[in-house]
Symmetry: C2
Subunit: 997 residues, 2 copies
């Protein structure tokens, strides 16, 4: 006896129904009927599946470690699909493709076919459809776009067009970014639903029925390109109180039989009351209720069985005159009804930061939490882009080559996962943070094989490539020991880059030559004690070799390094530090002055523009609240709450010991603020910015106090409470202390309530001058005192802040000592007019920095007769200064994905903010583009096929411009525009084409 | 678009498979294939659904109050059925029909059809199949039979023969009774699986591979009639450690993909180790694992998905030489394999009491826990039998009549539920105990309508029947106020009964007449202060009217009571108590002597036999342990653990105040042991036993000590550590202090470890004389000192005993005072030879006592021209003294269920233990039997169709005697035999037949 699996059975019988559904069409056409005269309550059955939080992604997927949190995503999808299959009235929405794709791989064909039909019928709707539900504060727009595109690509390929998410579903992230909304709009989403907005904001909006609005998410793009309808959900993403029917809940089930427990009247009456109250806060005769929560629907029957009864009994009341109609719906079907209401909506142009869910509960701590992981995420994306480029440029030879099978997908998925709102945010448990890092590390490994294959294929030489991942702590076995080695500097930017290479060595003097064999000046300096302290027992280099390298656009240069014997005429002795009391450093562009008594930085001069600005910089710590009489809230992984507004100086009242290192290539002031806080203020020759490399930690907590460390810059600029921070590393938003643009703020936390996410930069300015600080990772930042700005660089806390993670943010590691974190702030002083010309390209160079690959040299030829290349660029010419090559990545075999962006906002630079036109056909030397399609930003729909709902403002509807016909030879980018292309390409014959420069 | 429900869909496609299955046959024929050469591990997917425990039945069914315990049976059945439907390899067993029937009523036809097919294919197997899984210590065999038959009847009617349980499944009850096993055998079960046996017993059996055995469960019935194969499960009823995959568990799921969490090797290796260890304790190459536990399978997918993987990966190891084969199986399929092994099994004749799961963890407290509820359960079954009889005797007129719709099923189901092993045991939470009582009360109400209808129909008079349920505390508004009323005494026994009627009144003198209008002697006595204290603000009777009534077999007599005016010549003044210092009481059969100094009972004399025995009786309390250094175990609802072996006397060292009431009908000594403990020692005229009516409570606990109250009888009998207790109120088992018949006991609790369940009686004896105490409910009892016996009557404890209930057994009620409990001990002193002749019928009279219905009188005629009846018997003649009418109940329309039992054991009475033959056709006057079928004890299979597996002992197989052909005119009962019949009947024309006597 053989009985096919249930999925197969259901499927066979769904055949006819499926045909009918296909005829009816998916998308809005498949939405359930509503009742025009009644209040329609859209029940949205959903589950919120964190891509890691209290458990790792794998643990969540399989339902392992349920003692930490009962959650098993495999079962959720099993269960929901079975329930949907059994009843065509039911609908469900799902968001996180990281889990869906994992599940899909394990399904048999019958189940897959069933799921495809559910999708085609609109009964299983994908919302958001990203690989995860990314954070919006600490996530950079580059990996945000990639993670959304990665998820949507899976949906598109697996299910076709009916799976395309129409609604962005950011129901849990802790605040919402303007740039994120702009990206959503450019991906074709018709609307965004969010769960968390500031409690004061929400209360005001409820009062004013302004919970749904039109968000104009860009000041540069032509409306409605970045306009996004945005709805604030009534209960974050939970069901109304008393109506949680999941196995994880304990609300009373609907008992409607002849039971003594029969509670139908109570339940219906309570529900009608809740619906009526909610309807008062919204504008149409449709309201939405999110019937689900974290990892719910593992046993979907509980939810659906009770909702079935709720719907039946509430709607039965209509016979007694009730004007409420409840139905299974989805966010897109709800959105569709809002759109059909044809109202005019209010316009919003700011963002939803910071988020507070109580007067002393500002979720501004996570802007900085886990700073090491935040940096690792950024660095990993940087390497992923290099990996993507090399695979796109090289073609199949990158994936299969002399170093084995290279695979970019491991790192691609790990970086996508890292964008999750409990990953890069730092709000996950320690073991989960460890796992995120482990996944990234695995991604690096798989990518390094690919990079090695690609470099060998392109250069024509099979070197024994060495990837030294610990250069930041001056550790690299090859360079420490070898008398001779080669350095390959890969540059992922669309323009040539100049970059100070700094390698750990033990020799005293080295000769460096460039790809053309010309000598390159180099210096050897001692490894600082800050670094020695940091690397503990890793590495034993005593010195660092420094030389200024450069590499062409989307390409590499190879340098040769040879240690010089003591007898060599070019050998020089390493010079000792010039002085122990630093007064100033300078190069051709900048001078930095120090107070010789205190050791603090005291002035910065822009020598090119003859600007001089007093700048005092130092490190401080806020004393983390452990709760007080007013409120028990402690500072924690999510929440920043200092127990007083004035921070303590790290160095106490003492003078900061300094010493100076100075040579032809670099000038450095080493400042020792305390045993656990130091900084190098550095000027490389030729660089128009000051680099502040800080090293902070382990933060001492033996006194029982958690500490949150800031670097504060104090200037004489008249800032009038204003400061500026980026949005996802892209747009800049003006911030104003103790103020919100859209409601009358009652400020209850004078420090934490003024913190904003700083993804890439923060600046202050007066009418003439601007001081900009670029960060190498996301941090929280603010301007608490006029003329100052500050960045929180590290935090260590002893109490959990009661937002679910259940651990204090200790980061104490295996040795229980606490984490040491090193990072860089790049400081630019310029006129307000010229500032963007500096910080825009510099920020991109930080984000897509060059990458050093090492080898002992002496590799053999890759292909017979292939000439070897010391230098390579995939471009025929550099991109214009206002264009950034955001994406160059493999897509399908024979096609590559290309994203080009205009990196200036409208009006921020006289030259930079001009439109710019490119010839794409002739841009690449590595391959020939044989055809080109312009896509939406997510690359899952052709741009000319994108149609979005048109929404009304008071002045009428904002209708989109028709997309201009694509001319690949003349592609124009407007300020802040990103254009996405799929190019069919033909790769140049290795070693034959015009690849060499 | 309309898609049928999943069940329907699956069903349609199962059509062919179902046909195949039907051809293959159900039962053992449907068992899965096993692998002869390998160790076969039978995975039994099951859920254990307590019919009330931490939540009420309704709360468990619907999944309400999940904050108390996550459990929702409706979802369990939904989920399991869906899983079984999806995969023919999966099997599941279910036990508790109370839930199944509840669920079945809510299913649509498609689901029902699906479930029928699953049952037909043996994939959904019912085990036990009772309405609940009844307790075996505190449950009386009468309601045990009924509750099993009730569940099995539902299965038979709903699903047909394939649903008949082949295996009894007592996996959680706290010890196992011999009589229960005998009942199982007589119901046709092929085997019994139990979970809990004493830890020492289990360890020895594991060592000796004696975990599976043949239990000879009766010393009277001809083997193998009461032989039952019995298996002790390896892990109570849980899965092996680490293999619990329910949503309620946190064991790691099987991860078998490319995941870093892959744990297949570990899991398979661990499993193989467990299987090998287990196989060492069992005798065949088959072992069983119970894959489930309390309320598991609410999301069956979790369990099955992981078991699928376990099976696949463990069996895959066979390719590497593993000799272990895992399969989905059921208890009956496992049993079938044991049977096929054709081994000889050891024989057991004792029982499995008491149960201990640790050296200081004897589950002997629950024998007494909640004594009030234990009595209410007993009384409710008593009333249910009356209700059953009157419905069977009256026919449809009982269900629909002048008093509305009568319904016996409410009480039938409530009494069945009360047998559950967390109901009558007293191990449920207080709110659940309250609900059990509420359900019983609702059952009484529905039954009282039926009783009223029946009495009116039979008697021909529509009286205003009054049911006074509080006569035990001398409360009855009618008799307290009325000058005239009638008393109907219904007797459910098969022989005439004489019964002292005792009614609360306020008059001084009453005239009572019998059905023939003859005067009946009566007395009026004051309501005792013990009773006044007990009834609190209920009732205001100052006196009690006493008269000796009698009623015919299975019938009633009507008495008339009229208050006499003070001027009436027959009026007498109530006499005051004769004396305050009692010395003795006596009637024609018994004399009881008291110590005039201490007030204690000191001697009992059987005047008929000229036996005199010194008997000292008093109340004591054991001091409940709260845990000590040796072991933290506290005494609680389940566990009895005194903190020392000597109990404290309740009366301290003081003299017990007494007073005496003496009249022609009764002699009573009132003993006041303390403010919360009193007793009446009573002799009614003509009764050959002493009645001790004790009133205990509220037990004081203000001193911080829980107390367990006993009544102890000390005699001069030479008992040599032996005493005797009943098994489920039926067979008698010899007990021996500090001894177990089947293993070498190491006694670790000298009191609690010697306690045994007393369902109906306990006795001690020497070579000549026997002192028997009958109880009115289940209690714990023992003989801690030679010559003594004791019964625990009440307990109040301040600590939970950590067996899950999570509450101390406080029973403090709304007033927080603690419960007062009243009960009776009937004491018989006789020769050993004659004792059974006394205690057997007396125990049945306690169990099926007469019932008093009251009415003001003056009712109207029921049917035109129908003569009124003052007396009625449904029998043409009384049953012989050794035959008990166990069941006379309605079955289908036109049929009644009849159970007749021989109430003596083999050899316990010279006359009583003889076989007895009856003419059934001519037995009843209320109806004519037109055809008669003999059934198994459960009444769900014809007796001649019963086939049971034959098991081997060392001396060979024990083959059953063929059932003799039924001759309804000559039905013979052997000692302890119960015979069950379904009779098609024709009811006598009301008022026309030979019903009147």
């Amino acid at each position: 006896m053989a009985v096919p699996g249930a999925a197969a059975l259901v499927l066979l019988l769904l055949g006819e129904a499926a045909a009918a559904a296909a005829a009816a069409g998916c998308g809005y056409q498949s939405c359930p009927a509503t009742r025009p005269g009644l209040l329609n309550v859209h029940l949205v059955a959903h589950t919120h599946n964190d891509v890691g939080w209290l458990k790792t992604v794998e643990q969540y997927f399989y339902g392992a470690r349920n003692e930490l949190q009962h959650a098993g995503v495999q079962y959720i999808l099993d269960s929901v699909v079975a329930q949907l299959a059994a009843d065509p009235a039911k609908r469900f929405v799902y968001a996180e493709v990281a889990f869906l794709a994992r599940w899909w791989r394990q399904q048999d064909e019958a189940t897959r076919q069933l799921v495809r039909q559910l999708v085609d019928q609109g009964r299983l709707e994908f919302v958001l459809g990203g690989w995860c539900m990314n954070d919006e504060a600490a996530a950079h727009y580059g990996p945000v776009i990639e993670q959304l595109a990665l998820g949507r690509r899976f949906l598109r390929r697996t299910f076709g067009g009916c799976a395309r998410p129409r609604v962005a579903w950011q129901i849990d992230p802790f605040g919402h970014a303007r740039e994120q909304a702009a990206l959503f709009a450019q991906m074709g989403y018709d609307g965004l639903f969010v769960g968390r907005v500031d409690q004061q904001d929400k209360a005001a909006r409820q009062r004013l029925r302004d919970m749904e609005l039109l968000w104009r998410a860009s000041g540069s793009l032509q409306p409605p390109a970045a306009d996004l309808f945005t709805g604030i959900l009534p209960d974050v993403y939970n069901p109304p109180s008393g109506f949680c029917w999941d196995q994880l809940c304990s609300d009373p089930p609907v008992v409607d039989g002849d039971s003594e427990e029969n509670n139908v009247d109570t339940i219906v009456t309570t529900f009608l009351g809740i619906a009526a109250d909610q309807a008062k806060q919204y504008r149409t005769n449709h309201i939405i209720m999110t019937m689900g929560s974290d990892f719910q629907y593992e046993n979907a029957n509980l939810w659906f069985k009770n909702m079935d009864k709720l719907i039946a009994h509430v709607n039965a009341r209509q016979a007694n005159g009730s004007r409420v109609h409840v139905l299974y719906s989805t966010p897109s079907c709800y959105l569709w009804e809002l759109h059909r209401a044809n109202l005019s909506w209010s316009l919003k142009t700011d963002d939803f930061f910071p988020y507070a869910d109580g007067p002393h509960q500002f979720w501004t701590g996570y802007f900085t939490s886990r700073p090491a992981f935040k940096r690792y995420e950024r660095l990993s994306n940087n390497f992923l882009q290099i990996c993507n480029q090399l695979e796109a440029v090289t073609g199949p030879a990158a994936r299969e080559g002399p170093y084995g099978s290279g695979d970019g997908s491991v790192l691609r998925e790990a970086v996508a996962v890292a964008q999750h709102h409990d990953a890069v945010t730092g709000t996950e448990k320690q073991h989960v943070a460890n796992d995120y890092a482990k996944q990234l590390a695995a991604g690096w490994e798989a990518c390094q094989v690919l990079v090695a294959n690609a470099l060998a294929s392109i250069s024509g030489i099979k070197e024994n490539f060495i990837f030294c991942n610990a250069l930041n702590v001056s550790t690299c076995p090859l360079t420490e020991a070898a008398g001779h080695f080669i350095v390959i500097l890969y540059n992922p930017l669309g323009r040539r880059v100049s970059w100070p290479v700094r390698l750990p060595v033990n020799g005293v003097s080295y000769a460096v030559t460039d790809p053309q064999g010309q000598p390159v000046p180099s210096e050897v300096v001692p490894v600082s004690r800050f670094t020695r302290r940091l690397r503990r027992d890793r590495g034993n280099a005593t010195r660092e070799l420094i030389f200024q390298a450069s590499a062409p656009a989307v390409g590499f240069s190879t340098f040769t390094v040879s240690q010089l014997g003591r007898g060599d005429p070019h050998a020089r002795l390493a010079r000792p530090p010039v002085s122990l009391r630093a007064r100033e450093i300078q190069n051709e562009h900048v001078r930095v002055l120090f107070d010789p008594l205190t050791g603090h930085l005291k002035e910065i001069q822009n020598l090119d523009k003859s600007i001089s600005l007093p700048v005092f910089q130092s490190f401080y710590w806020y004393n983390a609240s452990t709760g007080n009489e007013e409120n028990p809230q402690a500072s924690g992984a999510y929440i920043f709450r200092p127990n007083r507004s004035e921070p303590f100086p790290v160095s106490g009242s003492k003078q900061v010991p300094t010493y100076l290192v100075k040579n032809a290539l670099v000038q450095e002031v080493y400042q020792n603020f305390s045993s656990w806080c130091s900084q190098v203020v550095r000027l490389y020759a030729g660089q128009p910015f000051v680099e502040l490399e800080w090293t902070v930690g382990p933060i001492p907590v033996a006194d029982g106090w958690g500490k949150e460390i800031i670097s504060r810059f104090e200037t004489t600029l008249q800032t009038n409470a204003r400061f500026y921070t980026d949005s996802n590393g892209r747009q800049i938003l003006e911030r104003r202390r103790d103020y919100r643009p859209t409601w009358n703020l009652s400020q209850t936390e004078p420090v934490a309530g003024n913190y904003y996410p700083v993804n890439s930069r923060i600046y202050i300015k007066d009418k003439k001058f601007q001081l900009t600080v670029l960060t190498d990772r996301s941090q929280g930042g603010s301007s608490i005192i006029d003329g100052s700005l500050e960045l929180m660089v590290h935090r260590r806390l002893l109490y959990d802040d009661a937002r679910g993670v259940g651990e204090p943010l200790q980061e104490s590691g295996a040795d229980n000592k606490g984490l040491v974190v090193r990072g860089r702030h790049l400081v630019l002083l310029d006129t307000v007019e010229s500032a963007a010309d500096q910080h825009r390209p510099l920020a991109q160079q930080e984000f897509m920095a060059p990458y050093v690959v090492l080898a002992p040299g002496g590799g053999s030829s890759y292909r017979h007769g292939q000439p070897s290349l010391q230098q390579f660029s995939a471009l025929r010419r550099e991109l214009p200064p206002n264009v950034h090559l955001l994406t160059l990545a493999p897509w399908d075999p024979g096609t590559v994905l290309l994203r080009l962006e205009h990196q200036f906002e409208k009006g921020e630079s006289a030259n930079g903010s001009q439109p710019v036109t490119l010839d794409l056909l002739n841009l690449f030397s590595a391959f020939t583009i044989t055809s080109l399609q312009e896509m939406n930003l997510a690359a899952d729909q052709q741009r000319d096929a994108v149609t979005r709902l048109v929404w009304n403002l008071a002045e009428g509807p904002v209708r989109p411009q028709p997309a201009p016909k694509l001319d690949p030879k003349s592609v124009t980018l407007q300020p802040m525009e990103i254009r996405t292309f799929l190019a069919t390409v033909q790769h140049a014959e290795p070693g034959a084409g015009p690849a060499g420069l």
